[in-house]
Amino acid sequence: MRLLIKNGHLIDPGAPENTGMSVLIENGEVTAWLRHGEPHPEGCEVFDASGLLVAPGFIDLHVHLREPGQEHKETIATGCAAAVAGGWTSVCPMPNTNPVNDNAAITRYMIEQAERAGLAKVFPIGAITKSSDGSELAEMGEMKAAGAVAVSDDGRPVPNAGIMRRAMQYARDFDLPVIDHCEDKSLSSGGVMHEGKMSLLLGLKGMPALAEDLDAVRDIILAKETGAHIHIAHVSTKGAIEAIRRAKNEGINVTCEVTPHHFTLTDKAVEGYDTNTKMAPPLRSEEHLEAIIEGIKDGTIDAIATDHAPHHADEKALEYDRAPFGITGLETGVGLALTELVHKGIISLERLVEMCSANPARIFHLEKRGSLKPGSIADVTIIDPEMKWTYSNADSRSKSRNSPFDGRNFNGRVVATMVCGRVVYKI
């Protein structure tokens, strides 16, 4: 089975000089780059990408697929459908399922469910501690053997520095990145939005930026001492970004991701008490958003990840205090990156592809992904960078509808997605 993606504008961060190439895919792998017009093998299906960007498949390092245990919010099949519609050919689900993904059997189950759905590729993230309760280490070696690519207790970050240190020492031997949702809950517990002028104005309890800063600094010091790779999830504060920048300059093995909502919105969006503006970390104030943009520009921030967190409508139709944290993001992430970062001149398209594909593949050691060089797996994201469109929750492929971007206009859209050479999404 052969497919030629021809006449597109190829962007491969690994080979910036090869923009004018068509991509030949055979049996799920990229086998050659051909010049436009160069004769191609016979019996080739052709995908005409004229006027479109052709990029290595985008990899979302941070999603919640809710299966097993909370299938009323999302299943692996519906989550993967939303993923490919948003341009993500691979997604990495967090372990806060029920039961928690803290053992190889659950890791394998998640991968099998994804294979059954046949859409995006799923690379599960295992728990750091059993049941993510912060006390005993989970079987990281077994989970890695089953296909887990990193470990994290995500929304229940390990509060005990001694256990976190041991987790890093242990994970390092298996070459597993340790991901931390940096939040010192002794400072943030009970909070529902960023602490600052807006929280005082709205009478809502705040989550101070320093709850994230302190945990990030702790993790960086532990990573330096243990030699482990720490990946800071959804970085959102000026303090954490500055700490990561310093650590990188010092040569400490630290990487980080940012969510589209954190580079798009501020805590002003909470006005009106729409519970789809409630997530952790919370939408921060202008000064933090500026620091995020700076971190995206100067390379301190490595990757864009959506933190897709579906919740059922009933669960979000509550008082702001009581509604759960999290918003969906798979179908709006790339559109926001194009609209808010590329079209505003903050980053180039090449840098966008680096943040959504090449860097995520490198951070989680996903071999043969993050590039379309011959020999790579043929995961491809095809984008019309100028297409104007409006996102509507009603059209979402996710089981949930909890996005604050309902009705928002975008400039630039994913128009097709291929996984292992197969077209899994096309508008």
Binding site: L200, L202, G203, Y273, A317, L318, E319, Y320, R322
Partner: protein, 315 residues
Amino acid sequence: MEKPYRRRDLLGIRDLTAAEINGILDTAENFREINAREIKKVPTLRGKTVINLFFENSTRTRTSFELAAKRLSADAVNISVSSSSVTKGETILDTALNLDAMQPDCIVVRHSSAGVPHQLAKVSKAAIVNAGDGANEHPTQALLDAMTIREHKKKIKGLDVAIVGDILHSRVARSNIHLLTKLGAKVRVAGPGTLVPGDFQHLVDKGLEVCPHVEDAILGADVVMILRIQRERQDSAYFPTLREYSIHYGLTNERLDLAKKDAIVLHPGPMNRGIEISSDVADSSRSLILDQVKYGVAVRMAVLYLSTGGSMVSA
């Protein structure tokens, strides 16, 4: 949702202009006299329905709204829900939509979570009046405080007002800060550092000052407003003991002597005597706590009247 003609929500003082605030106060002045009559009832809101939907305990505010509705001849229904409707498996929006389907003209809402009136206002056809939402706003309290101040000081512009106590958790403080600064008063707030965050300075553009000591706030004040210490918050340890609070932050005669000679004292109630306010002060002639309660009925009559389509009185 588009509300029927001229039906208006009152969600907070923050959304109002100075002219609107004065308009409500002037309208309330007109209703005051009804409460002093032998037959305390006028037909103004005959045929209108008001639902008092209280998700949080209240004696004073609920009774005040109920009397206000009844003295204007509206049909008033009181619903007290001790805990959120979610315990029965219904979301708060569904509860509100069900009540709204019975076609009331106005729903008065109190809830321990900030923003509930705003959430309901988006889906209801009835006008929503905020009777206190979490730590956000308590607009009718600020209006009745303003009416009390106007009565005794004949103005609000240019006055120095001290607000003392748990500012962080106080919806009364927020509504009063918005109202008083919009009408040109200077507001000084003070209390323990744990309950008066520095960011408060930026809450409004001008007219607000955060003072390091209670004495600085009270010095030379025309009005001293004391906030209730919410004992139920004591488990969060914002200050060591009530005893220590009363010694360092309570309003005593000595502290009140720092204010202007004719300064008045306000408290939104219910009072913790001997903690945030000494009994001497509470029972003195400078304390207008019962006047506040009295004017509360007239203010709520005006609010119900205006939110169900009445026109403002222009002074």
